[in-house]
């Protein structure tokens, strides 16, 4: 499979000369399988450019939402395939105790927040409430687990033809920091990441910043390195960069974390436009 990073920023878009390398768009990753299936992970602002690159030969797109925080759905209304008659779009998202996915997304895709209602979209749209478990889309086998982040939030493990990509853009495996549990089944997200060829994982804070943000649902870079190492992934891609962090600071944060702990896996800074083959 081939993953293309269309947005790696967290919380809020931040476009400007100081974020050119890492990019300013919020979470969106395109994953294409060998059979041509198109998965889109999250609908942050990066999804607008992705939508413009999905040509008429593609008849179906499956959008997997980890959760419904604004930075992960803000681009949804600007995703071109939603406006193409004949295009089949499936949106998969986390469960809720009170409302289904359609009702929750309609809070955004309706006036006064947005001029177009879900029911007025011309594509053929199907929404799926995803509970922890496994499902298939085209040639992909997908496993979803709830992971530690405020509100229902899914991590996805996507496998195809022997390759595995794990995606947890918003994840605080140990609230308050500290050591990961010795028992892996008691570590949030571990089963999603275990042995994956590529892990895209929350890396929002520095160790120094984390104490001010405990419980906000994000990791500090060193914690992410330790999580990736424990899970035995092949490559870690840092993701969900804080909007207040410019390119130079993101470089520095990773260098500092690697001085504190160097995992066995390779590290790739999550930069918008990067293409990762698995």
């Amino acid at each position: 499979m081939r993953a293309t990073l269309w947005g790696t920023r967290g919380s809020l878009p931040n476009a400007g000369p100081e974020t050119v390398r890492y990019g300013g768009n919020t979470s969106c990753v395109e994953v294409r399988g060998r059979g041509g299936t198109v998965l889109v992970l999250d609908a942050g602002t990066g999804i607008r450019r992705l939508g413009a690159c999905i040509n008429g030969n593609v008849k179906r797109v499956d959008l997997l939402l980890t959760h419904l925080h604004m930075d992960h759905i803000q681009g949804l209304g600007f995703f071109g395939p939603l406006y193409r008659p004949g295009m089949e779009v499936h949106i998969w998202g986390p469960p809720s105790a009170t409302m289904n996915l359609r009702a929750r997304l309609a809070r955004y895709l309706s006036p006064p927040l947005f001029p177009v209602r879900i029911r007025d979209l011309p594509c053929s749209l199907t929404l799926h409430d995803v509970h922890p478990g496994e499902f298939e889309v085209g040639e992909f086998q997908i496993r979803a687990d709830l992971v530690s982040h405020p509100g229902p939030t899914l991590g996805f493990r996507i496998s195809e033809n022997g390759g595995t990509l794990a995606y947890m853009p918003d994840h605080e495996p140990i609230v308050g920091g500290g050591d990961l549990p010795a028992e892996h089944e008691w570590t949030s997200g571990f089963a999603i990441a275990e042995g994956a060829d590529v892990l895209l994982h929350d890396s929002q804070y520095s160790r120094e910043q984390y104490p001010e943000h405990v419980g906000w649902g994000h990791s500090y870079v060193e914690q992410t390195l330790r999580f990736a190492d424990r899970a035995g992934v092949g490559k870690l891609v840092t993701f969900h960069h804080d909007p207040a962090h410019d390119d130079a600071m993101l470089d520095r944060m990773l260098e500092d974390a690697l001085r504190a702990f160097r995992p066995e896996c390779t590290i790739q800074p999550g930069q918008e436009g990067a293409v990762i083959d698995t």
């Binding site: 469960p95 530690s148 008691w186």
Partner: protein
């Protein structure tokens, strides 16, 4: 490997930070976790506890009512919370694993997650001081 339900993971993380003795049981009553204050009360470290199935729990701690009548596992607040899916409370006399006898108030609350998933019960202990 299968991840434990996130609700249980978060409960366990939370319980590890709480001073109140807390016990977390699975849907069949099996022990999932107890915190350090509960270790002090029961006089056994969680990591050394091993299997503690519900049907052996009352006997393990010589559990009795305040006036000394034996209590079966099913009649423990934990047993009630699991079988009837409602909070239950009781004052119990228990023998800690070092043999000391303690009087404790026990409150058990079922854990019902989104989707009406029954995951077990959480039990709070409060030692009654003489």
């Amino acid at each position: 490997m299968t991840q434990k339900d996130l609700e249980l993971i978060l409960l366990r993380q939370w319980a590890a930070h709480i001073q109140t003795p807390i016990w977390i049981a699975g849907v069949e009553g099996e022990l999932l976790f107890y915190n350090e204050p509960a270790e002090q009360l029961l006089r056994r470290r969680f990591d050394e506890a091993g299997e503690m199935p519900l049907d052996q729990l009352a006997a393990l701690f010589n559990t009795a009512t305040e006036d000394g009548r034996p209590v079966t596992s099913r009649d423990l607040p934990l047993g009630v919370a699991l079988s009837e899916r409602r909070p239950a409370q009781g004052r119990l006399r228990v023998s800690a694993l070092d043999g000391s006898v303690r009087l404790i108030d026990v409150t058990a609350v079922p854990i019902i997650a989104a989707g009406n998933r029954h995951l077990g019960a959480i039990v709070f202990f409060n030692e009654v001081m003489p």
